[in-house]
Symmetry: C2
Subunit: 338 residues, 2 copies
């Protein structure tokens, strides 16, 4: 088992868990048997689900936890209420080196707080960030931060650029990803002071690990010309959710506009279109900057979406993301003092 | 002519001007003859266009201006380079009370600077804002600020709420619009200090002119449950452009997914869908907070889009927007001192 990727799963969080968790594992095992799953949650419920799919037993171990963090609990209260929740124990297994990566579909705020409480940050990183994959005209890009840090300085944004490029390289075959800063214009004089300072740092440092291409505006995020888009957690969260809302608005209205016959006639190409936009295919936000990686699945995704986030976990561990982050970092403090 | 709405048009700015400007006027005159147009720009070019549509002469007057502000000029340089640009003169006509409202499809930054240089702010407003219309499930809502102010405090955001509701009431039949603050969550503890302070001010003040319903997240902007969405200019600009980029991404991919026969079969319903999303229908961003109203048309819109922005100008003047703003304002300073 030592050569397996050991994934610690909070099996009680998210809609329709633990059923979707076990079904997600089943789907992932069809194409990849490299993972071993530590399942944290109510033993009886998990055994009942696994009973139906006995061969999963060979790839998993159940660790009973009594308590559950709910989605609507305040993150701080939830994180502190018990050390015997499925989420706490799953993250704690990283600290104890029992597992390589942790995965939860639960309360994002609580997961961030628990992860920061239990796991140290990578030396040089003061604020961890939440990164996610975003579809574009060519493939997928990485956007961060998506809400872990409401306010950020130039040191944080520079760290995000370094961490985001390490993540991109871990997930895709690309030795030199293109990085841009999200701003209200591409001109140098646009934006706030933090952005201008970050621009200078990234421009002046000779990057071995990524190419800084300057500012990018919101309408170009999905063009496919940039691999990693860096922003503070407030702006990133607004941008991600606005894109989600716009996509929902358009597809809902479109559905009402196509009659059944034309949908049938374009069936296969419409299926491709839906597949390209299917949010399950890029399910899995990654919490970057800690000594061990933590992945957050969307709470409302189904077993297919959860299987995708298992795949993200596998790639991150095999690509040795944490070491890549360490070797990518720029010492910004020295630069700012100089 | 005194009962006409007098619109001062910067006739040289934007793509394909002055041709599209004159064609836009022609379209607007078909449904509405209440407007009179002061056309600022190169006399020979304007006369050449109007020569083809002689009856427009009755509704317009050309004022020759020698210089033009280009789209790619730095706003500050452009605003200061000459007082004989079509943009400068059109805004100046407001100061001189020759016209009621000014309309330009040119350089947004330069228009903001010139407007602030020439026109005083409404008493009590320190920062004017750029507002625009955004389609939603039911109709349209107002979003502001969209980029005039990169950094805002609670006084600014409260002013934006008051001005945005006045604008909404001027454009639509609704005595009590619903206002929300754009944030990363709907819970009270979410967001930065400025948002929390603004939330308190809007919650504690008894509003006669609008209903404050709290925070809204990016994915709900288009749901149609809120009429006015308030945010700082940085966030608003990112949100607007991200929505635009997402809409372009989806429609581009969709086009490639539907074969010709199915497009024909759903022709009329697809036409309705396209019409609902047609950005020309909500063309016209409004610069709020000055003693006179200034409207910015999208530079790349066509004559139909420009005609829509003329319609916005007409509504604003007839609804007496500036007086509505004045009567809507909350004295926030007193509240903050108390």
């Amino acid at each position: 088992m030592s050569d397996k990727v050991k994934i610690a799963i909070d099996a009680m969080s998210g809609e329709n868990s633990p059923k979707k968790i076990i079904e997600g594992i089943e789907i992932s095992l069809k194409s990849n048997k490299e993972n071993f799953f530590y399942l944290y949650g109510k033993k009886d419920l998990l055994e009942k689900e696994i009973h139906k799919k006995k061969y999963i037993k060979k790839y998993s171990e159940i660790i009973h936890t009594e308590d559950i963090i709910l989605d609507d609990e305040s993150p701080l209260t939830a994180a502190k209420k018990s050390k015997n929740t499925s989420m706490w124990k799953a993250v704690e297994s990283l600290k104890e080196k029992k597992s390589d990566i942790s995965l939860s579909a639960g309360n994002t705020g609580a997961l961030l707080i628990i992860s920061r409480l239990l796991l140290k940050t990578v030396t040089g990183i003061s604020k961890p960030a939440l990164a996610a994959l975003w579809p574009n005209q060519n493939n997928l890009n990485v956007v961060l931060d998506l809400g872990a840090n409401i306010e950020c300085d130039e040191k944080n944004l520079t760290d995000f650029a370094c961490m985001g490029s390490a993540l991109f390289k871990s997930l895709f075959e690309n030795p030199n990803p293109k990085i841009a800063l999200l701003n209200v214009g591409h001109e140098k004089y646009k934006g706030n002071d933090v952005l201008k300072k970050t621009f200078s740092i990234l421009k002046e440092n000779k990057m071995k690990n990524f190419e800084f291409i300057g500012y990018i505006e919101g309408n170009h995020i999905m063009d496919g010309n940039v691999d990693v888009i860096v922003t503070d957690g407030f702006t990133g969260n607004i941008a991600l959710k606005t894109a989600e809302g716009t996509a929902n608005f358009i597809t809902r209205n479109l559905k009402n506009s196509l009659n059944k016959l034309s949908m049938l006639l374009s069936y296969s190409s419409l299926a491709k279109f839906r597949s390209k936009l299917d949010p399950r295919k890029y399910n899995g936000a990654i919490f970057l900057g800690l000594q061990s990686p933590v992945v957050k699945s969307h709470g409302s995704t189904d077993s297919i979406g959860f299987a995708h986030s298992i795949n993200v976990c596998n790639k991150i561990v095999k690509a040795n993301l944490i070491e890549r982050i360490k070797s990518n970092l720029i010492t910004v403090d020295a630069k700012l003092d100089g």
